[in-house]
Symmetry: C2
Subunit: 112 residues, 2 copies
DNA sequence: GTAGTGTGTCACCCGCGGCTGAGATATATG
DNA sequence: CATATATCTCAGCCGCGGGTGACACACTAC
């Protein structure tokens, strides 16, 4: 027990647990070598799964798994192109990526 | 083998693997409930380990472990304050947090 | 000195998530 | 139709990282 509690900082044991569910979900999506690589590669336009797999030196089914995660989160879109309907081309959803970045800002940007 | 390769998009199997080490490291740091919570709580100023542990409903040694990770990455600083030298107060390094956010921008921001 | 509190360190356990392999589906060609 | 390529799905395995427990260390009060 402190001798002089008025000069000591008050200990706050009743701080509210912060709501970090959404930014945490965004961080978890980026916290994987292959998913981060996919998003980086797709910055320069759409690519098909086999191109991504070759660039990442991973198997296509593994890349497809990660693409499904990103697709479920809305960060990428899939589409078959007219002249090459066998392949599935993926492209970034820039609006969703910006939204995810905004979530991460709530963790890393000062409140001010 | 395509019958008419001139009308089909060229498949790029020689894409360079992107360098994502630094943004990946930043994402891995944020991709944990307790570390994300610590950064969120510290937005409103320094707090000691026991306060963080209480807010996160975690044991102090566990919180201390995560603080060490954030400290090694430079995102937070530790200091003992004059009037309360028993406790260790942690505060965000806003410059480092901004730098980490800049790394994540390389994944989520359009290149333009 | 001893006792008590706050924090740090580390080995260990264990669950979660990434990778794999097998199979299914889709599209094209012969 | 059969064959080939590209992608998708999912159960299972396994390594990595977070939580725990025990202990050491730092500081205060007595």
């Amino acid at each position: 027990m402190p001798a002089d509690s008025s000069t000591l900082p008050e200990i706050r044991l009743d701080l509210a647990p912060p709501d970090i569910e959404t930014p945490l979900a965004a961080a978890l999506l980026l916290a994987d070598r292959n998913r981060a690589g996919i998003l980086a590669i797709l910055r320069d336009g759409p690519h098909c799964v086999c191109e991504l797999a070759a660039a990442l030196d991973e198997r296509s089914n593994n890349v497809s798994n990660h693409l499904a995660r990103l697709r479920d989160a809305g960060l990428v879109r899939a589409s078959r192109m007219a002249l090459d309907t066998r392949r599935v081309y993926y492209e970034r959803d820039e609006a969703a990526c910006t939204a995810a970045l905004a979530q991460l800002r709530t963790l890393l940007e000062p409140t001010r």
